[in-house]
């Protein structure tokens, strides 16, 4: 099993029990898409909030995803193969001024 550290910032913790930092276990060889599925199934408090997090099978626009402090686009997005002790950060883009 892989141990993955997950954090929800920018107010996203609201749909994950108001907890910002989580540690989850996923199977060896899992990719990012499988982690997302795991988060929806196990960490999301209310499945009605799924569309706050997911749109068309991937992370919805307006949520930034960082893999070890790097834009997930540089790491392969949904296809990224998870490594043990990865830090995955989700945060809302903010628009207020």
């Amino acid at each position: 099993m892989l141990t993955i550290n997950v954090e929800f910032l920018g107010g996203l913790d609201a749909i994950f029990g108001h907890v910002r930092e989580h540690t989850v276990q996923v199977e060896d060889g899992s990719n990012f898409r499988e982690l997302t599925q795991h988060l929806v199934e196990h960490l999301l408090k209310d499945r009605k909030d799924e569309d706050v997090f997911i749109e068309d099978g991937s992370i919805r626009p307006g949520i930034l995803v960082l893999i070890n402090d790097t834009d997930w686009e540089l790491e392969g997005e949904d296809e990224y193969e998870l490594q043990d002790k990865d830090l995955i950060t989700f945060t809302s883009t903010l628009h207020g001024g």
Partner: protein
Amino acid sequence: EPSNGYPLSLDEYSRYGRQLIVPEFQGVQGQVNLKNSKVLVIGAGGLGCPALLYLCAAGVGKIGIVDNDYVDKSNLHRQVLHTTNRVGMLKCESARVYLENLNPNTEIETFPIRLDNDNVFEVMSGYEYVLDCTDTPQTRYLINDGAVLCGLTIVSGSGLKTEGQLSILNFQNQGPCYRCFYPNPPPPNSVTSCKDGGVIGPAIGMVGIMMAYEAIKLITGYYTMENFSPFLTIYSSYPKQSLRTFKMRGRSEKCAICNGTITRKAIESGEIDYQAFCGTIHYRVMD
């Protein structure tokens, strides 16, 4: 005015001496660059107020202020460039009153208008840098597209509640832009404004000052194509004040503005409809 071949006047040396002796500031050349720079600040609210204060104080030669809002009492807990006795005044004019006293060397141009497809190119012409201090996705996309087409580097800031975000976009017209980062807008019901979500004054103040500082680094020449790397910095204030910087993607070939799909003509004709792109904005109705 400078005289005897010196690049700055005695008055300027005495006003700016404390900053131009700091090595990272790039010395007298850094100050001369600031003096010759033209910076457009869009939004004179929670981000714009502190950004304007520090840009003007540092000696930016010309500052444009775009805002068609009027000072309201509910702004004053965070918009510290406005005052109780200027409630009801245009924010851009309220800002001008103070900034002209802070530093008479800075030329202030005010635009008491809402930025839109028809005026964005005219407003941006003549400016080299733009600070995006606005508060809706559609305005952020509009500023982005105008800046990419006009060749302005963008310092982009935002904040809400207790957090903020900071980026440099379209760096030297070669770095990634707002659309490169965010090709698709967020669903409109996921967007919260400061009006609805609230914001703590110093939280948005921190982001505003960081924006002024990034603009100063750009103008003084600290950033180069060699040392610049696309980034997004996140400020959080609870439980402790902290900053984290993430490494971000570069310019994207798929970006509709960077690859030329969106043209000036398409924006000016209204073919690019920012309201429609970002969805119906229910939260605007609550103004």
